[in-house]
């Protein structure tokens, strides 16, 4: 119960900060649409040359791009600003104040610096996915399983970021590292089955962006085996557990700014 109240309070604080700059909402919305067009453009050039690629049609690949846009929106709204804030806390020594709060520190740092405005990107992404879902005639079962898989994928991304944040206690300046991971995640705008061998392995298991974008799209096509879907969710839960352990272990090693 008190957990829900804390989360609501954190979200309200972020929302109030955003509301001060109401005019930028229009700007952000325009940018979101432009950015979606920019993300989709290479896809149209590729499928202009080849009607199908490794079993994917343009519409099906568009679903992958849609999930990619949603994931990017979540990263920019929830994950990235919080990560940068934690790095700043550790660097300036203000992280001690975070630890003094009665709230669970991982929950707090995951939500304390959210940028709700960036969720506009998710809306555009949902629009793209909706268009693609209509084009591939996805039914309610497909939509539901795609949504569940996407949530599993987002859990995975969040866990990955938690591990990066945990490393901030050892290496301090890790915000550049997040740019590097972002560049790697960029590969996720294409169906992961277009890649081969080592690259596909990395994109499925190491930087599991394939799970975030390709698997939900497969589910939308109704081509994902239930066992694979369940496996993906189990992996996501496992990753979340690993991230939690990484976080608590590195907190134990944190020597604070004043002691």
């Amino acid at each position: 119960m008190s957990l829900g109240v804390s989360i609501a309070a954190l979200m309200r604080a972020s929302l109030l900060t955003t509301m001060r700059y109401r005019a930028s909402f229009i700007g952000e919305a325009v940018m979101a649409v432009a950015w979606a067009a920019w993300t989709t453009a290479p896809l149209f050039v590729v499928f202009d040359q080849a009607p199908t690629l490794a079993g994917w049609t343009a519409d099906e690949a568009l679903a992958v791009v849609g999930f990619f846009i949603i994931a990017q929106g979540v990263l920019e709204a929830l994950v990235d600003p919080n990560l940068r804030a934690v790095v700043e806390h550790v660097r300036q020594g203000t992280f001690d104040f975070v630890l003094l709060k009665p709230l669970d520190a991982q929950l707090y740092v995951s939500l304390h610096r959210t940028e709700p405005l960036k969720l506009v990107h998710c809306l555009v992404g949902i629009g793209v996915v909706g268009y693609a879902a209509d084009a591939v005639n996805a039914g309610p079962v497909e939509l539901l399983s795609a949504t569940l898989l996407m949530l599993a994928g987002l859990t995975l991304l969040h866990s990955l970021w938690t591990v990066v944040v945990s490393s901030a206690f050892f290496f301090v300046k890790v915000d550049n590292l997040s740019w590097l991971i972002r560049a790697g995640l960029d590969a996720g705008r294409w169906p992961v089955s277009l890649y081969r061998g080592f690259v596909r392995f990395v994109l499925t298991f190491v930087l599991p962006i394939g799970l975030v974008t390709t698997y939900p799209a497969l589910a939308l096509r109704g081509e994902l085996k239930p066992s694979t879907g369940l496996g993906a969710m189990v992996i996501a839960v496992l990753f979340a557990g690993v991230a939690r352990i990484a976080w608590t272990q590195s907190l134990r090693r944190y020597s604070s700014a004043s002691s």
Partner: protein, 262 residues
């Protein structure tokens, strides 16, 4: 200025070495051509597209990666930061033009960039050795000349957007829009030759091609001799336009610069 330049290059190299870990991350962040290479390799698998087989694709995108890094500049962020914080003021007092300093800084990081890129290049060569070809001497010579012009245009474009910080708080946002258009129109994400016809016709008249696709296609030996000179001539025209615009925004901006101590 010419006597000071070697020293500036040494300083720049020392800076790059000092921040080598960050440089590694920045270089690895700009590796989008590798992703495109894998995708287009898959497209060319069924058979060559307009003369482009898997070897040509790999060659094109490997060269795109290399040219992207030998023509890279980051003066837009440096200028923005220096103008906003006022640290440009002491630079303006020096007997040397601040932009000369930024040119030296950009050029001197190149050896280290090459070292960081080397393993990636070796990896691609190992993955797809058929990208190797026997280049004709003229394509290499003209390609290198063209790369110099590409760098000049890219640097001048960054000076233009960097100097906009004299006038506006939004200059970095404007540069991001430019960068977005650039990455679509320059051959960075896909070869312009393989774009739909209408798109290629539009891009022919825009400056983006001159900053990347021209040197890449020349170096890869994908351009005929008759077309090559026209492409480089277009680069010269764009270089003049961009350097002229850069000089204009810079001069207008410095005149109204009102930082602390200016």
């Amino acid at each position: 200025m010419f006597r000071a330049f070697p020293t500036l290059l040494r300083i720049g190299l020392a800076e790059a070495v000092a921040y080598r870990a960050e440089l590694v991350i920045w270089v690895l962040t700009a590796t989008a051509p590798l992703i495109s290479m894998f995708i287009w390799d898959r497209v060319a698998e069924e058979g060559p597209l307009g003369g482009w087989g898997q070897g040509e694709m790999a060659r094109y995108f490997l060269l795109a990666l290399i040219v992207r890094h030998i023509t890279s500049a980051w003066v837009v962020w440096e200028l923005n930061e220096n103008i906003r914080t006022g640290s440009l003021s002491p630079m303006l007092l020096r007997p040397m033009h601040p932009l000369v300093f930024f040119v030296a800084q950009n050029l001197s990081a190149m050896p280290l960039r090459a070292v960081i890129l080397a393993p990636l290049i070796v990896g691609v060569l190992w993955w797809r050795p058929e990208l190797l070809w026997t280049p004709e001497p003229w394509t290499i010579a003209l390609g290198l000349v063209s790369a110099v012009f590409a760098w000049a245009i890219a640097f001048a474009a960054q000076v233009i957007f960097g100097s906009l910080a004299f006038f506006s708080q939004q200059s970095l946002g404007l540069f991001n829009v430019y960068f977005g258009l650039w990455s679509l129109g320059s051959g960075y994400l896909f070869p312009l030759e393989l774009a739909p016809d209408w798109l290629r016709q539009v891009l022919l008249w825009l400056p983006f091609r001159a900053t990347l696709a021209t040197p890449v296609e020349l170096l890869a030996g994908l351009v005929a001799w008759e077309d090559a000179l026209g492409l480089v001539a277009a680069q010269v025209v764009w270089a003049v336009v961009f350097v002229g615009l850069a000089a204009m925004t810079w001069n207008l901006g410095v005149k109204r610069h009102e930082a602390v101590g200016a």
